[in-house]
Amino acid sequence: MRAADTLRFATRAATGNPLRTVLMVLAMAIGVAAVVVLTALGDGARRYVVGEFGALGSNLVIVLPGRSETGGINPGSLVTSTPRDLTVEDAEALLRSPRVTRIAPLLVGNSEISAGGRLREVVVVGTSSDMTAVRRLDLAAGRFLPREDLRRATNVAVIGATIQRELFGAEPAVGRLVRLGDRRFRVIGVMAASGQGLGMNTDEQVIIPVASALAMFDTNTLFRILVEARDRSALEAAKADITDIIRNRHAGEEDITLLTQDAVLETFDRILGTLTMAVAGIAAISLAVAGILVMNVMLVSVTQRTAEIGLLKALGAEPRTIRNAFLTEASLLSLAGGLAGVALGQGGAALLRLAWPVLPSWPPDWAVAAGLGTALATGILFGVQPARRAARLDPVQALAKR
């Protein structure tokens, strides 16, 4: 029998029993649609997180004092001398690299803030005017720290949204005086509420000039230096420059650690990617169930069409011809189910995007391909047994069957 005839014969056989065919296609379609929709959701979550991190500034390099060993404590890390202070001068020196556009020194400590008889514990952050640009932060009122010499300890503060609410309530805070530790600061700005962001929460912080913070905590060393590279492609070169500059300033000792958003991003990307795969795997179980259904339906079909198989044998059909016809039918049904499932899944993903526009729920191509492939593979795999049974039927007994 010609291939085209086998295909036509199988198609006629499949459409000859519409209810059976529709049910089987539906079962397969739901399996594939589950894979497509769930991976769309998983990948949407991944893209959302990656996007949020990207918004924090993907060309950011964070400089930490001290050489951190990723392998944990080992004899080498004990031998290394205590790191030198990471100073404001070090931070300023980094601007000498042409690949560095902005820097923001960072010093973090705890203190008490009081105003109008109210008192609370706060996180005090000492930094410079470029912080807003480096971290993409917005102000709700007033202005941020003035651009001035990093060594100048001006007594001005920018407070977070929660602090503003708890100390001043509905009253404007800009222009008021607050006491931080044993110094008095004038509030010059209020940060915009950052909400449920993934970055550092500025709502409960008080931001003051770095020199004021160094004096308040009586220290010389910075907690971090945030460095913004010119662009993403300059990130590696900027890291090399930072290492060189600091090594020169620290008597040839490489006693800093550089972190980039990329490393964090990559980890999240990998974790959520794995999660998506796991979800796809769970969804694929429903495909296996659909495959077993294909086998069941095809076995019933062989039983129902026993007389027809006997006739085909009497007319001179070889066992191979009959096997191919049934296998083709199973494949066609699986393919139809797979395609319907992809359409259903894409529709479901579109609905998800409509319902939650923040989540870019596009099914990844690999999931669509895997869903279709698994549908076809299980259909054929589970179609083999019924097809072989049909091919092996004894023609005399098959013909006797009504």
Partner: protein
């Protein structure tokens, strides 16, 4: 050379613990172009003999030469090819595929033989015309009368121009008039050169064959050459 040569054919079925001798030392020689009727009570082995002649069944012992060729030693694919090319079957219950039209049913053997669609179409149209079914080509079996169904089945059985036509109770499901019509059709085909072997319960039909074989308990008990009687003339 005879068309069919059977010798020492044994066919034993095992039913539970007991063994049934469906055919016992059957010997038969049929020349090309003969018209045979096989008669006998139920369970006498008529159908088993027909299945064996049609290569749907294999004997436990004995030899079967079809057109001088030993066909019992052929493998499944070779036997299928012989059925396809040399043998036509007509069944009591027609065995038409319900979802296919009359034309598609007639085309089945051509399709299985891998004949291209264009040639198939021409041959099926010619066959349907020969059997007076040209206006029924697109009808499905459930839209045809019993006589029309059997004519479709005969058209299908002869579309490959076989040497041997095997009919198992071809008029069993038909009324008298339609049965006679189908019988005449089969006899016309025999007159055209096809060897016709008919299994029947109907003595009127059995008497029309030039040679009548009677079976009992798996043995051929009678092999009668007779002058065919036109049993349809005076009912």
């Amino acid at each position: 050379m005879a068309l069919i040569e059977l010798g020492g054919i044994e066919r034993i079925f095992t039913l539970g613990d007991s063994q049934v001798h469906a055919l016992q030392s059957v010997a038969l020689r049929v020349e090309a172009g003969e018209y045979l009727s096989v008669m006998g009570p139920s369970g006498s082995g008529k159908s088993t003999l027909l299945n064996l002649l049609g290569l749907l069944d294999r004997p436990n012992a004995g030899r079967y030469h079809l057109e001088g060729r030993d066909v019992t030693t052929l493998d499944a694919d070779e036997q299928a090819a012989v059925r396809r090319e040399r043998i036509g079957f007509v069944f009591q219950s027609f065995h038409l595929v319900a979802r296919l039209s009359a034309a598609e049913n007639v085309a089945l053997p051509l399709m299985l033989a891998g004949v291209p669609a264009a040639e198939r179409h021409a041959r099926v149209s010619a066959a349907l015309r020969d059997f007076g079914l040209e206006d029924r080509a697109g009808h499905r079996p459930d839209q045809l009368s019993g006589g029309q169904r059997q004519r479709v089945a005969i058209a299908r059985a002869t579309i490959m121009r076989p040497a041997l036509l095997l009919a198992d109770e071809p008029t069993g499901n038909l009324d008298r008039a339609t049965g006679q019509e189908v019988t005449r059709l089969l006899e016309e085909l025999n007159a055209g050169g096809v060897t016709l072997i008919v299994v029947t319960h109907d003595p009127a039909m059995g008497a029309r064959a030039r040679r009548c074989i009677r079976m009992e308990d798996g043995r051929i008990v009678d092999d009668l050459r007779q002058t065919p009687a036109d049993t349809f003339a005076n009912p």
